[in-house]
Amino acid sequence: MAQKKSQRPSSDDPEELARTPLQAVLLADSFAQKFRPITLERPKVLLPLVNSPMIEYALSWLESVGVEEAFVFCCAHSQQVKSYLNNSQWKNQPGPFSVTTIESHDAISAGDALRVIYNHGVIRGDFILISGDTVSNMSLAQALHEHKERRKKDPLAVMTMVIKHSKSSTLTHQTRLGNDEIYMAIDPETKELLYYEDKVDNSQRLISLDKMLHVDHPAFNLHNDKQDCYIDICSPEVLSLFTDNFDYQHLRRHFVKGLLVDDIMGYKIYTHEVQSSYAARVDNFRSYDTISKDILQRWTYPFVPDVQYFGNCLQIRLDRRGNYRAPEVVQSRTSLIDSLTLIGDATTIGDHTVISNSVIGQGCTIGDNVIIKGSYIWDNVTIEDGCKLSHALVCDGVHLRAGVVLEPGVILSFKVEVGQQIVVPAYSKVSLLPQPSKQDSDEELEYADASTGVVESPSGYIWSCEGGIEDEWRYSIAPIPVEKISEFFENAYADVDVLDQDLSIPASGELLHDSESTGLGEGEDYKDSADFEKEVEATFQRALAGVDQDIVILEINSLRLSYNMSHADCAGALFYSIMKAALLVPCSSKNELYTSSMKEIVKWKNLLKHYLKTVDEEIEVILKFEEICLETAREFSPLFGNILSCLYDKEVLSEDAILSWAQEKEGADESDKILLKQSEQFIKVCITKFGQLFFPINASLKTKFGQLFLFRWGFFFQMKYVRPFFYLLE
């Protein structure tokens, strides 16, 4: 290790850098399972994307940016990848571009892969690191140049990340590529990456930035409108960093964040933003769908089907309406092929068949009266008469018998047969291979049983969705259901509101993503005040558990904003939770209850006072207390007067509020006056104390004069004038 590091400085010499050929590492394994069950039988990089294996896009792009040596790291199904590459155009092609495979069977993450590559010792200079499912047509010359210039000045700039502008709404991120929003902090001057956060958890809508960022950098921009292209230009140090930190697994989650957090070594990551060119990564089924359509719309030019960039010597022609067609297609006159469709070689299409927004592979046979909408059909698929496919993915060799209906989001893996007139329900995945069970074996049996119910012939297991239905719609090919979109919009706007008014976002994010509220699908419901009280109570519970008071205040504040409540509501809700907490303490007699509630009140006085800014809020607290006594916790009703006076003593409530409350209650009917009567004495004390000072008469509450007096008094005399008198009195 030390030796290698000592050798490094020599390679930093600019001439040396210029001389070494540009190398690239292509990870032909995503180390994820998003494409299961298909990837059980074929590696992800060999899955056809618009009828060409994904790896072709990545390799062609590498070739076009001037890479001379590409190392393909394969792990899962490495034999298939190797044999594919051996038979492809890349093996024996003229020119400086060479492809070498590196194989490992025990790598389970990108980190492992890079460690293996490091051990091979093949990387000599700067290299491009991409995964095998990248589709791009950008030119790297500028980024490479910047990277090299930076390296000359600062050898610690180890990586340049390529990012791309995208619309800054979660909706776009979600609906286009099915990935989460990314937050990045970038120095506007140097383009240094300061903060990176993907996978912003829905339940935790809080991003915290290190204060030190401000110290080191005079300015930085926090972006949520950037898309990570997953194309990195790395220095050789990156590999050794992976080797040194054997716990780095994920490129972004561990490596990038690790470097950003760790300031001991001082390694820096920079960004390069591409302007007009295209770059994206096929990460899940949704991005598969989106990128396929982008390719058909020619955003990836020249990597489009009719420019034969890849080895295929088929001449696919593009007609006027944007349909791509291979030369040997047999198509019935009565069939209709709508826009943005690709029909592969030697495919037969029957009468009255309608195909739109789909990609059909080679050698398929499609019968009469078939409707195919937004689907991806790979090679040698047989679809018999009258089938209906919408937004489905159908792998090689699948046989659909007459009248089969595939609902949106269905995935049929290799060689599945579906019997006549069967409706395959939405989002189901069918494979010939059983699902490797993470749970106990009973469940697997259950699925096997279930599969016989739906799929007629012996073939096929229906896979259960691991992440639940929530994830299914997120990553599926099917369009997002309307209600989900509206939900998304609401959430997006709710977020905006919160961000505008208060930077802090409650940690208890379940308020927006509560499964109950989403189930109802109506935006008004969760704005209910009952919900709000529950939330406040939950927050308060955490306060009991030892969270700092300041944080509780912050959280309640933000809850107030998100539910659009007033301070008075907060005070009421908080008081309610305090009293509930008092009630939780086991007590046998009235006195014990009194003392325990006293204790609680004393304890949380400050918190409560935070919300008792004006008389209105104090009145609200009294009303709330009244409500508690009458409805929720009758245990308190005998103690009402005592506690009220106690609240008064502890300066939680002012006599002002108590008097207005009493006055308000005057007009109410008798049943409501129980508590008023209880506290009458106390109120009288108040008034007498007060009255003695100002008017030597016992002012009656019941006189009109008294009412007028109270009103005026409340109006003119502020607390600060009145309080000193009370001190005097006491």
Partner: protein
């Protein structure tokens, strides 16, 4: 010939990946490649021309398939095929002259000598016709391709005077190949010098104080204007910028650098400005057999504007851009749709490309065609390296340069 094959593959890849920019470069490199193919081809004793034609055809087929948009490649392949046929004919013709002399001197077999002169006369006539470059109706009706016709007399001659011909033939073997390579060299030179040849005619066309309008950037047009400028003609140039690639900006810069009075206008302002223009000069991507032109997008609009205001519309193009196909031929791929990112920034419009919200079909489509087709009636004059021609004369030029048999290079699957 592994090295030739490697060269061909390399070139095919380059074409496929659109790494060769411009018609001239493609034409030149195609011609050079075919020259190597011809020179490396091993020649049999009989049917040499057919062998060469076969070899060139196989290579040509690949080249054309590699980039069907670049018509110049196909044109050069056809030109080379035509050269082989022509050279074969002339050599046959010279051989036939010798043969007929011998046949006349030999009075032994009258039976055959009666036949020979007739045959040689036909061949000579054919040769003469081809050198005169006018395919008459007769040759078309005869229907026999020259390649099939050409070996015939030599083989029949070989039957009668096999021994006396063998020495002659071996010399002819080398001669044919040599001649073909010579002719291809000439072709390459023609391609290289086409700009100069075209520019020579500039002074005759551009007059003092005229206003010239052009769209986009064409090297031929640039050289043409430069040549006129060098001859001390003072004139002004309007350059339409040529969206979306805005090559007009580049051209304007180059013209100003040479001291030409230049005005840049938007493409949409062409109609407003055309009344002040004396002549429109544009470049072309290809000239079709009917005199129609495939040219960068936007030129059709300029041509229509020019016709409306009776402004002469001149197309300058090297003869390698002359395509023997008609625009309605199925082999012709008229257009190339480029990436929409020339027009729109992808990031800014990424939310319009939502497929999942709009039921799977995108609402936004962007079409970015590279070329326009301009019908022949809108073109006033073509300036090629052989001079000025009207659109209706194009078929004659094509008959000069190409053989009718080569129009379709791709061989049909033999039934």
């Amino acid at each position: 010939m592994p090295d030739v094959q490697a060269l061909v593959n390399d070139f095919v890849l380059k074409l496929k990946r659109r790494k060769i920019e411009g018609s001239q470069a493609s034409a030149r490199q195609t011609a050079e490649l075919l020259r190597t193919v011809v020179s490396q081809q091993r020649m049999p004793y009989t049917n040499q021309a057919a062998t060469l034609i076969d070899a060139v055809r196989t290579v040509g087929e690949h080249l054309i398939a590699a980039n069907p948009v670049e018509l110049a490649v196909g044109n050069i392949v056809r030109r080379v095929l035509h050269i082989i046929r022509e050279e074969d004919l002339t050599s046959t013709a010279t051989a036939m002259e010798g043969l007929s002399l011998i046949a006349n001197s030999d009075d032994d077999d009258n039976f055959e000598s009666h036949d020979h002169p007739a045959l040689s006369a036909a061949a000579l006539a054919a040769a003469a016709r081809s050198t005169l470059r006018a395919p008459s109706l007769q040759t078309l009706l005869e229907g026999t391709p020259e390649s099939a016709l050409a070996p015939n007399p030599s083989s029949s001659g070989g039957d009668s005077e096999g021994k006396s011909k063998s020495a002659d033939r071996s010399s002819r073997t080398k001669k044919l190949k040599h001649d073909v390579i010579e002719a291809i060299n000439e072709l390459i030179q023609d391609i290289d010098t086409c700009h100069e040849q075209i520019s020579e005619q500039a002074v005759g066309l551009i007059h003092q104080n005229e206003v010239i309008l052009t769209l986009g950037r064409s090297r031929t047009v640039k050289e043409f204007l430069f040549a006129a400028n060098e001859k001390k003609r003072s004139f002004r140039v309007f350059v339409a910028e040529g969206a979306p690639r805005y090559q007009g900006h580049v051209l304007a810069k180059e013209l100003v650098a040479k001291g030409l009075q230049t005005t840049v206008i938007t493409d949409s302002a062409v109609f407003a400005m055309i009344c002040r223009v004396n002549m429109v000069i544009v470049g072309a991507h290809a000239i079709m057999a009917n005199g129609g032109v495939i040219a960068p997008v936007g030129i059709n609009m300029v041509a229509l504007a020019a016709q409306r205001h009776a402004v002469p519309f001149v197309v300058v193009a090297g003869s390698h851009k002359l395509c023997p196909l008609y625009p309605h031929n199925p082999e012709v791929l008229l257009n190339d749709l480029k990436s929409p990112s020339d027009l729109l920034d992808f990031g800014e419009f990424s939310d319009c490309m939502d497929f999942s919200t709009s039921g799977g079909s995108p609402l936004l489509h962007v079409v970015n065609p590279a070329f326009d087709y301009i019908p022949p009636k809108l073109v006033s004059l073509f300036i090629t390296d052989t001079g000025g021609h009207s659109p209706s004369y194009m078929y004659r030029l094509i008959a000069d340069y190409y053989s009718a048999d080569d129009f379709v290079v791709k061989r049909r699957p033999t039934s």
